[in-house]
């Protein structure tokens, strides 16, 4: 299947390897990602705090760009924070005609208009519901057998919009991980908050929350994430040395793709234990 692709700012910076591995994985799975031309920031946390109206306008601009492609494709978003912002804007614009009119007057400035018809989907949603599990199973040849993986979902791909998984006891990654031959760590920290952006300004918060999460992951060979913010926090506040990799990196490795093609040199945590366990 084909998708419109919204990488978001983090994937151009601190989460570069997430971007690289996403694109590489979809190519390997023979799905096409078309980057939304001229996309801009979704507003992140900042817009919501200081300017509520801009926090709708900024994602709306990107939705409008997606609609302008006239492809009717779903928008795939790997960053959970961007996903929530785009999704929320889409819901608000869909339900509130007055707001939509107001936003469109602003978007006129860029020659754009939004009607909120495009569907916003998280990377994990796409991977679990559009048939990737079977293809990974076919291609991976159980390459990851012997590894125990802790799936870490974080918050905003699960909540508040309950789209593709249980918001408290998520399970969607299980099938993907098993498709690689690896085992899933039975833990219940997968949907527990890592501190997100609070960890940037209040490091002691991140340290404690991440500590609790990694403590429970100690019997796993690696933690797999689907959000740049989670990845950053889990890697930054390592109390013990636990490899943390992005889900597309992990799936890519399971398909036998070269580590460099998945940006595996860019992770802040030491992921050699995962790389070395991969069957040649």
């Amino acid at each position: 299947m084909d998708y419109l692709y919204y990488p978001g700012c983090s994937l151009e910076g601190t989460a570069k390897e997430y971007d690289i591995s996403c694109r590489a994985l979809f190519e390997a799975l023979e799905d096409r990602l078309t980057e939304i031309p001229d996309w801009t920031c979704c507003g992140a946390t900042a817009a919501q705090c200081v300017d509520p109206f801009l926090s709708v306008v900024l994602p709306a601009r990107n939705l409008a760009l997606a609609e302008k492609t006239d492809t009717g494709l779903d928008v795939l978003v790997p960053c959970s924070a961007c996903y929530l912002n785009l999704k929320k804007a889409r819901q608000d614009l869909w339900e509130n005609n007055a707001l939509r009119a107001q936003v469109n007057q602003v978007l006129e400035e860029d020659g754009l208009a939004v009607n909120a018809s495009v569907r916003v989907r998280h990377l994990l949603d796409v991977l679990t519901r559009d048939g990737a599990v079977d293809r990974v199973a076919q291609l991976s040849e159980n390459r990851m057998k012997g590894l125990v993986i802790a799936p870490y979902y974080g918050c905003q791909c699960l909540r508040p919009y309950v789209e593709f998984d249980d918001p408290e006891q998520p399970r969607s990654m299980d099938a993907l991980i098993r498709a690689t031959g690896a085992d899933v760590l039975a833990w219940d920290m997968g949907a527990v908050c890592c501190g997100a952006s609070t960890a940037t300004t209040k490091p002691q918060v991140g340290k404690e929350l991440v500590g609790r999460i990694l403590d429970q992951a100690k019997t796993a060979h690696a933690v797999v994430t689907v959000c740049p913010m989670c990845q950053m926090n889990l890697e930054r506040f390592q109390s013990r040395s636990v490899p943390v990799v992005y889900l597309p990196q992990f799936l890519g490795l399971s398909l036998g793709m070269p580590a460099e093609s998945l940006g595996c040199g860019m992770n802040l945590s030491d992921i050699r234990p995962v790389l070395s366990r991969v069957a040649p």
């Binding site: 399970r171 920290m189 527990v192 609790r212």
Partner: protein, 959 residues
């Protein structure tokens, strides 16, 4: 046609259905009782004990009169009565018609049942397959699953299915293609599409291609079952049995919320020590899984620390349940008390609650007993038992916040969840089919002022189908519904079954006894009027006695506060006054009574002290009531003798006066009733922004008056909302202990919060301080959440003092009844025989029976009338086989046996001056025989010698 015996269909064999059936059967009508499950008794058959007796009292529902016509056995094992045809494991297939002529068809699950209706579930997601299989199998459908369309086609080729539920979006062949292919294999297959979220369009498209219907994920199990049930019923309708009935009583009950559905924050089904309260009830039972021991269901180790979590699937919008389930607080109080007292090993019994809803007259005292026994009550809602908190060897860690915000943690062996009551799948389907009016949550909404009437004439409703109900309310409501059915049958000209003994080959029995076919109703408030009307409408004479010079009681001042109550009161008064079978005696009270129970001859006398006769509730007054002076026997007439077979006490009650000295009775301090009257008379300018402080439980729920009056919290909410509607800037603060808004009345609580009313909880001993002077009132308190001292100036302070019953002990004793510890009518059993004394001919209703609002008052009045009618309808009663008799030669008339008899069955015959037994009232218990010092009291067929022999035999042969 007219000599046909009346027949009523009762749907549901839980306690409501049993109660309604027994009332109808006792009155001589026939009952067809349908029950879906394989036994009668409903939820209650799984409960060993009920509060406040801490025993099971279900068998107390069995008739007291002519008890030989019913198997006198444990009702949890079964029920049988000559006039009741019980069909268990039976589904209602269709119901059509009007009062007096409903045709019903129904089908036993054993012939052409659900096991002949195999279902195929196709979905690529395992969790969907597994849960659907679980739900459907539980209902008796054989289920097979397939994880792909290809697999499904294989299964279809191998064997036949009636129903196929298939996902649309699947890898490989999709559901729509599967639909087409499956129809080729099996053209009559009913196919239901399952689709996620937004893809409804495809499902609709599939229906054009032959799909029967579709379901949207995530599924509500009820919706799935309803869908499959509908298909099943259509398929089997031709095998069904048919019958004709006059009236229908819907008593299908409610179902418990399943805690593992939805987000399951307490890990039910995942964490081994987490159980529901029904499961715990079985663990407590000596006949349960642990036998005499209370052990952990998985580890088998003794349980010592138990936590109860309230409001699981109640008062929780996240589970679609904005209402309170009414009963769970008391179930947990009971379980914690029993656990603590039955098992000394239990060191920690802790109930986590939001408001402890101990409403009604016996609950609060029971909760106090639990506290005394060492049960800990913690006002906190535990958010979850996961994540990060796994059960380990030391127990389940439970974390909560105390009011100040501090984190607390304790370990427990067991966590007992108290799941709420929800409407069940049958109810929603039935309500839809029959076009019954339901509320926002799917419960059937009874018509106002007509307890148990639905919007469909001839179809009545009671119990859990009307909302979360406890045993007491269910049993009362069931009798009221039975009365409504009797009314339909009477107006259709139907007959009752009379004296089957006459027609049997054994010939005529000579020991028949009859009641005088008339009723005395004491109290002309709305309860007394409703009871009198219902009895008179069934063709019996009623004497209605009222102490004051007018009818209406408390509803006179309350009528403007309740929507529609004014015209209702007017209609009822006119109907009573115009009824040719009702004699009204105003300004009259009961002087004394002669004769024996069932043949009473009661003397009525004018009220003497004219200064008091407008004050309806002087406890020292023997009785009450009357009508306008122009009609009836009036105040100045001489004494009147009335004969009656039953008596209904409906003397009412009044607002209790504040039992603590008020601060100078300053201006602006009102009782709740005074405030209501001031509001109704527009003496308070609600259009201006007022500051009002309301104080709940003033003198209530404390030693001395240790019951909850059940009406004050809803009334305060009503007043607060009125003030807020009058002026949104009005500041209303309600100081409460536990907001008692059980059931659907929870919504008023939510409304009040929405309107900006502030609620401040307090505990006895930490009550807010109210001071008043000429300038107004001042309230000081400490907010438990903020931890700050707070203060407000109030224009008005409103004290909710609750209800004080107006029944005197003398009056109750005159008819062999008594008062309970709080001064209300002492029921034979608060749950199972809620409107009658030990002697079933002595009935009570309204607020002298128990505190309650207008709806409850009317329900108890109609229930009492149902009891009266079913007794009066019988021309002759035949006593039970085992009854006591008196060997007069040995009797010294010491009368010890009269006091000892709990059933009011023994009396001295004034004519012969000998001791007699009322064979109808006597239950053959033998207490008299044990009490009699001279061997004069004996029980038929139970002479001493064989009894002693039996005891010896038992003692010599250990079991």
């Amino acid at each position: 046609m007219t000599d046909q015996i009346g027949k009523t269909l009762v749907i549901g064999g839980g306690i409501s259905g049993i109660r309604a059936s027994l009332d109808l059967a006792q009155a001589g009508y026939q009952v067809l009782l349908l029950e879906q499950s394989d036994r009668v008794g409903g939820l209650l058959s799984q409960l060993d004990t009920q509060f406040p007796t801490s025993t099971c009292g279900m068998c107390r529902m069995l008739p007291m009169m002519e008890r030989d016509r019913v198997d006198q056995q444990c009702l949890r094992r079964g029920l049988s009565h000559d006039n009741i045809e019980i069909c268990v494991s039976t589904d209602l297939i269709s119901l059509k018609g009007d009062p007096g002529n409903f045709s019903v068809s129904f089908l036993s699950q054993t012939d052409g049942g659900r096991d002949d209706c195999p279902v195929l579930v196709v979905d690529d997601e395992k969790i969907v397959r597994d849960s659907m299989k679980e739900w459907l199998s539980e209902e008796g459908y054989p289920v097979q699953t397939a994880d792909s369309a290809a697999e499904a086609l294989n299964l279809l080729a191998e064997g036949s299915f009636k129903v196929m539920l298939t996902d649309i979006k699947m890898p490989g062949m999709d559901g729509v293609t599967l639909l087409t292919r499956a129809k080729e294999i099996q053209p009559d297959l009913a196919v239901v599409m399952m689709t996620a979220y937004a893809a409804v369009d495809t499902a609709v498209e599939a229906m054009k291609q032959g799909a029967l219907d579709y379901l949207v994920k995530p599924f509500d199990p009820d919706a799935v079952l309803q869908m499959v049930d509908r298909i099943f019923k259509d398929a089997v309708a031709e095998n069904a049995r048919k019958d004709t009935v006059d009236a229908v009583i819907l008593a299908s009950g409610a179902t418990f919320f399943q805690p593992n559905l939805g987000i399951n924050p307490y890990g039910y089904g995942r964490i081994p020590g987490v159980v529901t309260n029904l499961e715990f009830e079985r663990m407590l039972s000596h006949a349960g899984p642990g036998g005499m021991d209370l052990v952990h269901p998985v580890t088998g180790r003794p349980v010592t620390r138990i936590a109860w979590f309230q409001c699981v699937g109640s008062r929780d919008i996240q589970t679609g349940t904005p209402f309170c389930s009414s009963t769970c607080c008391m179930i947990s109080v009971k379980q914690s008390l029993l656990a603590k007292t039955m098992y000394p090993q239990v060191t920690e019994a802790c109930v986590f609650y939001m408001d402890l809803r101990t409403w009604g007259k016996a609950s609060d005292d029971y909760a106090r007993q639990a506290k005394k026994a060492g049960v800990r009550f913690v006002r906190a809602r535990v958010h979850s038992l996961a994540p990060g908190l796994k059960e380990n060897d030391t127990g389940i860690p439970v974390v909560w916040l105390d009011p100040s915000g501090d984190r607390r943690e304790s370990l427990f062996d067991l966590v007992v969840l108290a799941p709420g009551q929800h409407p069940d799948a049958f109810l929603s389907g039935f309500a839809k089919d029959q076009e019954l009016t339901t509320d926002d949550w799917g419960f059937v909404r009874p018509e106002p002022f007509l307890s148990g009437h639905t919007n469909r004439p001839g179809i009545f409703v009671c119990g859990g189908a009307t909302g979360p109900r406890d045993i007491h309310d269910s049993v009362t409501g069931a009798s009221a519904a039975a009365l409504s059915a009797m009314q339909v049958m009477a107006s259709a000209g139907r007959q009752t079954v009379q004296n089957p003994e006459k027609t049997e080959s054994t010939g005529l029995r000579s020991d028949g006894v009859s009641l005088f076919p008339g009723a005395l109703v004491i109290g002309g408030g709305i309860a007394g009027m409703a009871a009198a009307l219902a009895i008179a409408d069934q063709g019996f004479d009623v004497d209605l006695v009222e102490k004051t010079d007018h009818l209406g009681g408390n509803l006179v001042w309350l009528q403007t506060a309740i929507e529609g109550a004014g015209s209702f009161l007017e209609e009822q008064t006119a109907a009573v006054q115009g009824h040719d079978r009702i004699r009204i005696h105003t300004r009259t009270c009961v002087a004394d009574t002669m004769g024996r129970p069932g043949q009473w001859n009661t003397r009525l006398t004018p009220v003497k002290d004219t200064a008091e006769n407008t004050d309806a509730d002087r406890p020292e007054q023997l009785a009450e009531n009357g009508s306008p002076p122009d009609k009836s026997s009036g105040g100045k007439s001489p004494d009147v003798q009335v004969r009656h077979g039953v008596v209904v006490l409906a003397v009412g009650g009044a607002e209790a006066s504040p039992d603590r000295p008020l601060p100078d009775n300053g201006p602006g301090i009102y009782t709740q009733q005074q405030f209501q009257q001031a509001l109704d008379q527009d003496a308070i300018d609600t259009g201006s922004p007022l500051h009002v402080a309301m104080f709940q439980c003033q003198g209530s729920r404390e030693p001395g008056r240790d019951y909850c009056s059940r009406i004050c919290c809803p009334r305060s909410l009503d007043q607060a909302l009125r003030l807020k509607a009058g002026h949104p800037d009005s500041r209303v603060v309600i100081f409460y202990r536990d907001m008692m808004t059980p059931g659907l009345s929870e919504s008023a609580y939510t409304e009040a919060r929405k309107a900006g009313v502030v609620f401040v909880p307090y505990e006895p001993g930490n009550t807010p301080e109210l001071a008043a002077d000429n300038t107004g009132c001042r309230v000081n308190w400490t907010d438990p959440i903020l931890g700050r001292a707070m203060e407000m100036a109030a224009d008005y302070a409103v004290l909710a003092t609750g209800i004080q019953p107006g029944l005197s002990r003398d009056l109750a004793r005159l008819f062999g009844a008594d008062l309970d510890r709080s001064g209300f009518f002492d029921q034979a059993d608060i749950k199972w025989r809620p409107v009658e004394a030990m002697d079933p001919r002595v009935l009570a209703c309204g607020i002298c029976l128990e505190p309650g609002n207008l709806a409850l008052t009317l329900a108890s009045a109609r229930a009492a009338a149902a009891k009266a009618v079913s007794l009066l309808s019988r021309e002759t009663f035949f006593p039970g086989k085992d009854t006591a008799r008196v060997r007069s030669a040995f009797c010294s008339l010491c009368q010890i046996c009269i006091d000892a008899c709990p059933f009011n069955a023994r009396f001295i015959d004034p004519e012969t001056r000998t001791l007699k037994v009322d064979p109808l009232a006597c239950q053959g218990c033998g207490i008299c025989a044990a009490a009699c010092p001279s061997g004069a009291a004996v029980v038929t067929d139970r002479s001493l010698a064989p009894m002693i022999k039996t005891i010896h035999a038992v003692l010599n042969q250990p079991l």
